[in-house]
């Protein structure tokens, strides 16, 4: 099905769509392209980390390729290379589109995006060079952060100015989530930068701050962006109005209030009330989850979202299913956290949230938005189908073995006299499968990159005839 011919269910200001898309073209296409290149970089590093985990004698000569450094580099490249730029691209375009107004100062946003990429490069390089900050999720060395925040401010100001100048007065749920995320990231990072990196507070208060910032990133920034995309695409592509704005508000505000509390775990060396509050907030997350699920369920009105024929919808549907799954599992986590905490199970849940829920939603957004900006359809639909299959398989083949390995660790650790090394070795057998999952994931990302490059080449390169679909359509699916 051709994407650009689908009807617009939400009314933008008349005749503004083309103008809006033109204003977003340079910064958003740049953000998406570089986001996907970082996704490939992060996937490659993740693959090496996965290999090194079960081949501990691989690549041991250089400090740069130590497992710990590669892992941190991979996850930071994912968060700030891919996720941040994908979210910013979606934010700029969606705030402009839903507001019915052209993007304010696209050149500033483009400059910001270029600086952002330089800062992320410095940050990832710094981690590999051994300058990691040591705070999980925020490992960039302190010298990379000022440029990062400056670039972010430039892009965010364009986004906020665009929102304030909107001609469509009614705001939509996607805009709320995106605006919240727009503030949440710099707030979290500024807190980390000032209270952990520049002028560190004493002792375990650092751990509390790190947990708060991490939870804000996971729940409000990544989770909120995924929901923004899903709430935008599901009603639009199904051509049905959103069921309830009231439910959407409840879900939104509950996520915002609860999200930041959810990062602590039982047994942490922190005052008990903090841990209790955190567990309680995690359990309460069931409510926004239910509200979101119900709202979208009624909106869809029985139409297939998960296995939909329309690929964009299928991506959004997979994102939604993974989101509901991850949030549900995280919500009931306090009940079993003593057993599964520190095992591969936690890694499995995180993987579903980041690579399942968030990334799938972003892929849906990219597939939906890019043809509008480039004013050209995807050169071929086949890679899109394969991308979806490979990506879902990749996520499952990492998450399921991890969850199984976590269960094995749990069972093994029940006996306090059992040999810990033996438990780790037993769990390692299932872990090996994750390498296959990482390969599939990387291949799927490459497919999208190839497809995007072909689309951009056919649109913006004079030698457009070269970009034919048939010959290399499955080139990345090795």
């Amino acid at each position: 099905m051709s994407l650009s011919t689908q009807t617009e269910s939400r009314a933008n200001a008349p005749a503004a769509s083309a103008e809006v898309d033109a204003s977003c073209r340079a910064p958003v296409l740049f953000l998406f392209t570089s986001a996907l290149l970082w996704l490939v970089a992060s996937g490659s590093l993740g693959l090496i980390a996965s290999l090194k985990m079960h081949q501990p004698l691989l690549l041991v000569r250089g400090a740069e390729l130590t497992y710990g450094r590669i892992l941190a580099a991979s996850s930071n490249a994912f968060l700030f290379g891919f996720a941040a730029q994908a979210i910013l691209g979606v934010t700029l375009w969606m705030l402009a589109r839903l507001g019915g107004t052209p993007l304010v100062r696209p050149i500033v946003a483009l400059l910001g995006a270029i600086i952002w990429n330089l800062a992320v490069t410095v940050g990832v390089g710094g981690i590999l060079a051994g300058d990691s900050s040591g705070y999980e999720g925020f490992e960039f060395p302190s010298y990379a952060v000022p440029a990062l925040l400056t670039a972010y401010t430039a892009i965010a100001l364009c986004a906020v100015a665009t929102y304030l100048q909107r001609r469509e007065r009614d705001s939509y749920v996607s805009q709320w989530y995106l605006l919240a995320g727009l503030f949440a990231l710099p707030w979290a990072y500024l807190t980390v930068h000032s209270l952990l990196l520049i002028n560190p507070v004493r002792g375990v208060a650092q751990a509390a701050i790190n947990a708060w910032a991490g939870a804000v990133l996971r729940e409000i920034w990544l989770g909120g962006a995924a929901l923004a995309v899903i709430f935008y695409l599901v009603p639009k592509l199904l051509n049905r109005p959103l069921y309830s704005r009231g439910y959407a508000q409840i879900g939104f505000w509950m996520l915002l209030v609860l999200g930041g509390w959810t990062g602590l775990h039982s047994g942490a060396p922190l005052p008990l009330w903090m841990v209790r509050m955190s567990s309680f907030a995690s359990l309460l997350m069931i409510f926004p989850l239910f509200v979101v699920a119900w709202n979208l369920h009624v909106t869809a009105g029985g139409q297939r979202v998960f296995g939909a024929d329309c690929r964009v919808l299928a991506f959004a549907g997979s994102g939604l299913v993974f989101y509901l799954l991850a949030t549900l599992v995280m919500a009931i986590n306090p009940l079993i956290s003593e057993a599964v905490q520190f095992t591969y199970y936690s890694a499995a849940v995180k993987h579903i949230a980041f690579y399942g829920a968030f990334s799938m939603a972003m892929f849906a957004a990219i597939y939906h938005i890019v043809p509008r900006l480039a004013d050209a359809d995807w050169p071929c639909a086949n890679p899109m189908k394969w991308h979806h299959k490979l990506a879902v398989a990749g996520v499952m083949l990492v998450a399921l073995p991890l969850a199984f390995a976590g269960w094995q660790q749990w069972m093994g650790l029940l006996d306090p006299s059992a040999d810990f090394n033996q438990i780790s070795r037993t769990a390692m057998r299932a872990y090996r499968i994750t390498t296959i999952g990482e390969i599939l994931w990387l291949a799927s990302s490459l497919l999208l990159v190839v497809n995007l490059v072909k689309l951009l080449a056919s649109r913006f390169c004079p030698c457009a005839a070269l970009a034919s679909c048939t010959a290399e359509s499955n080139g990345g699916a090795r």
Binding site: P56, A211, L256
Partner: protein
């Protein structure tokens, strides 16, 4: 929610609840924490690390050892496993920056490794090639912390004391730990949180012999 300033203020207010709870309040509650005198021993706890151990903490941070090792003992199973005599509490981390609690246990918890394993050469061998001292260990080798040198007229004093099999494998050469390796071992040796605290007493009244000061390094396990 169509009124932009109201929406933006609402977002700000909603986010600040958890910010006050987990960023500002811990600072008010824990920010004034000071080292305390341990009643039984008269020692001040915790004491700051030695310079070498502090450098070792940097090596630990740079290589993200926390990716596989936690430094926190939870009440219950962790203690039964012998990873600590008591749970860890805020007091134990007073001089750590960054605090590296860790979130995953591919390897064992290290909160009390300084009490469990007191042999420097064991630690160095373990970093050089974990499988030399722990059968089928899943830990990678930290070979880059060592220099391979041809043995001259006589072996260096600071060379690693290798088991025969490994010594034969690299015959004519010796492995000399770099400064980073020595610092990292000093840091690992400094890791112990077994001082009896008011908020985390040792579970049973220990005999005077096991209630030793950190400098004597009595093993907590075995």
């Amino acid at each position: 929610m169509n009124h932009a300033p109201l929406l933006l203020f609402g977002i700000f207010a909603a986010l600040s609840t958890s910010w006050f709870g987990l960023v500002v309040w811990p600072q008010l509650q824990l920010g004034q924490l000071q080292p305390v005198e341990i009643e039984e021993t008269g020692q001040i706890y915790p004491s700051a690390r030695s310079g070498l151990a502090q450098q070792g903490a940097d090596v630990y941070r740079a290589n993200n050892c926390a990716a596989c090792h936690t430094q926190q003992v939870r009440p219950g199973a962790d203690i039964a496993r012998g990873w600590g005599a008591r749970r860890t509490v805020a007091q134990d981390y007073l001089f750590d920056t960054p605090v590296m609690l860790g979130s995953s246990r591919i390897g064992p918890d290290l909160a009390n490794i300084g009490a469990r394993q007191i042999d420097d050469n064991w630690h160095l061998l373990h970093l050089y090639k974990p499988r030399l001292v722990v059968e089928n260990s899943v830990m990678p080798s930290y070979r880059f912390l060592f220099t391979k040198r041809a043995i001259g007229a006589k072996p260096s004093l600071d060379a690693l004391k290798l088991p025969d099999v490994e010594a034969k494998r690299i015959e004519g050469y010796e492995m000399v730990p770099k400064a980073d390796a020595l610092a990292l071992v000093a840091y690992l040796r400094s890791l112990r949180s077994d001082a009896p605290l008011f908020e985390a007493p040792l579970p049973t009244k220990p005999k005077p012999a096991t209630l030793s000061a950190p400098s004597t390094n009595s093993p907590a396990k075995k």
